[in-house]
Amino acid sequence: MSQRAAVTLVDPANPPSRKAPLVWAIGAAIPWLVLAVGQVVWFAVVDDRLAWAHVTAAAVTVVGMAVFVIVVPLWRYRVHRWDISPQAVYTRSGWLVQERRIAPISRVQTVDTYRGPLDRLFGLANVTVTTASSAGAVRIVALDSAVADRVVGQLTDIAAIGAEDAT
């Protein structure tokens, strides 16, 4: 087999916005807080017997909150990286399951930005670079708005040069 010399890819260079962990934490905290309020209502208004059930539920909520509001956002911030060269987009993402994804810019079809309510509040934006394959979309999440705008401009400029069918 004509395998080339072993190649490895170093990680992409740029981290997401410094505000990313905070936004992720708030996003994760909202459903957990709803759950916690529900439990308080259950305890205070509906029924305060079954002490063991209340204690178990409270413990699950506290542990879940600690994991998803503190650990996961910090973990994701350590993992998430992105980079763009004139030829390719390259990202690293995830926490428990980690992915590194690279796509050639000559095959890029669309570049979208998405700003959720929380993103807008904190001035963040997510950039999605799609290719002709539904499995090949590259997402750069939680960028500062200014950085995202620059990335989109850069990508559309480069992508406009290649005028192939992109399949």
Partner: protein, 484 residues
């Protein structure tokens, strides 16, 4: 060739449409008959039938199509008018499909596919045109693809790649289609409320008598044998009817697939959109030395009937056809490179976790209650099966890569060998779960615009993953992040 006029479909559809309309409105017609007999006025029935038939006839008058330089248009609908327009340069394949009634009248349905998922309404289907007209329409619709092919065809007539043989039927008893059909039939029977009638019928009575006479075990055994035989029979029959007289022909850059005894289907594939092929070997088919072949194409759905090139057939036939299509013997049947000890270990742990958990549960249960001896035998059998599957999965796992093709082989119950053209790969993902990171392996995913869009190389050694990607796609090896 351009035609500015609106065409109608074949006038013979004036016969077909009313029949189809009547079949479609059966519930309404049953209602009409009931009302007619209840009110003693059979004019109700006659009126509704006449209306239905008139509606069918109107369909022919309201359906027109036209083929222009840059697009094709289809206008349909009696009450709701609808226009479907397709740009001609988006046409990826043309299929024909003729049910029994169509065939008797020498008609066929012609479908144009653009590769996008279309749901019923927005599909461009000419239902129906004369069979003799199909070659002309096809060459007009696929003008781009066929222009080159026509020249080549003048020099060399199309080559036949494969032809269905009676011996291929030996792979079909081993599929579950027959069983699925039986279950579906039982479901429909009960849905229609016929179950209750059956329970009191003489058939059921005699069944119960027999059960009492011969004992429950014997009756269940007989019932099981009957179901298995029926399902085998149905599977074989379905396979014969669907794939009988299948031929796969290649005219230079166009691939023609024709199959079906009662319902004739013909697919035309543009070879320039071929990005590889998948050899699939379900366990039971593999044991008999069989395989099926799917095309990996842009603009053709990756799974199911749309991409099928060959139904279960001898593995040598499938391999030789794929070799002919992609012109690379080693990619199709060459040896693959295994994924090493970590991947092997992961196959074994995964395979044996389930039986070990069951056995542990049984041991725990044995401490409190008496466990019948057959339970231990069952667990042992389960463990053995899982071990065999794990060993087979280890044997299957492998990949092969050069600068033109990526090959990934995996699986036991459903073994597949994906052969993907390197130039068709438009993105790479290296995914590692927590356990994969600890084991030092990764799943490499090649994204393409063709077939099922993503093809996985499971549990390759992590340090190899980017080398594989870099070998197939020079833009990865040449990127500024690459270090050798």
């Amino acid at each position: 060739m351009t035609e500015r006029v609106w065409h109608r479909l074949s006038p013979r559809m004036l016969l077909v449409h009313p029949v189809h309309e009547v079949l479609r409105q059966i519930p309404l017609l049953v209602g009409a008959v009931v009302v007619g007999s209840a009110t003693g006025n059979s004019w109700w029935t006659v009126a509704i039938v006449a209306l239905t038939i008139a509606f069918g006839v109107l369909r022919w008058f309201t359906t027109t199509y036209r083929i222009e330089t840059d697009e094709v248009q289809l206008r349909t609908g009696v009450l709701q008018r609808k226009v479907v327009s397709l740009p001609r340069n988006r046409i990826r394949s043309v299929q024909t499909d003729a049910r029994l009634l169509h065939q008797l009248l020498g008609l066929t349905v012609l479908r144009v596919s653009t590769g996008q998922q279309v749901r019923g309404d927005t599909e461009f289907a000419l239902d129906a045109v004369r069979v003799e007209e199909v070659p002309r329409l096809r060459s007009i619709l696929l003008a781009d693809s066929l222009a080159a092919a026509d020249q080549a065809e003048a020099q060399a007539p199309g080559r036949q790649l494969a032809r269905w043989q009676l011996s291929w039927l030996r792979y079909s008893p081993l599929s579950f289609t027959g069983l699925a059909m039986i279950l579906a039939a039982v479901g429909v029977t009960y849905q229609a409320g016929l179950g209750a009638i059956l329970e009191h019928s003489r058939l059921a009575e005699s069944g119960r008598d027999a059960a009492q006479r011969f004992g429950v075990v014997a009756s269940v055994a007989v019932f099981g044998v009957v179901v298995v035989l029926a399902s085998v029979g149905l599977s074989v029959l379905r396979s014969l009817v669907t794939f009988g007289n299948l031929t796969l022909r290649r005219d230079a850059e166009v691939l023609h697939l024709q199959h079906g005894l009662l319902r004739k289907r013909e697919h035309t594939f543009d070879m320039r959109r071929l990005r590889g092929g998948t050899l699939r070997q379900p366990l039971l088919v593999r044991l008999l030395g069989g395989a099926r072949l799917d095309a990996v194409m842009t603009g053709v759905a990756g799974a199911g009937e749309a991409s099928l090139l060959l139904p279960p057939c001898p593995v040598r036939t499938a391999e030789s056809v794929l070799t002919d299509l992609i012109a690379d013997v080693n990619t199709v049947s060459g040896p693959v490179r295994g994924h090493g000890p970590a991947a092997t270990r992961r196959r074994w742990t995964r395979g044996l976790v389930f039986p070990v958990v069951v056995a542990a549960g049984l041991v725990l249960a044995a401490a409190f209650v008496a466990v019948p001896p057959w339970a231990w035998i069952a667990v042992a059998a389960l463990a053995l099966t899982c071990a065999l599957l794990a060993a087979d999965r280890v044997r299957a796992l492998g990949h092969r890569v050069d600068d033109r093709w990526l090959v990934a082989r995996a699986g036991s119950l459903e073994r597949r060998r994906d052969c993907i053209a390197a130039e068709g790969i438009i993105g790479w993902t290296v995914r590692q779960t927590f356990f994969q990171r600890r084991a030092g392996v990764a799943t490499l995913i090649a994204a393409t615009a063709a077939g099922v869009k993503h093809y996985q190389v499971i549990d390759v050694p992590a340090e190899l993953s980017w080398s594989i990607a870099g070998t197939a796609s020079p833009w990865v090896a040449d990127s500024e992040w690459a270090r050798s």
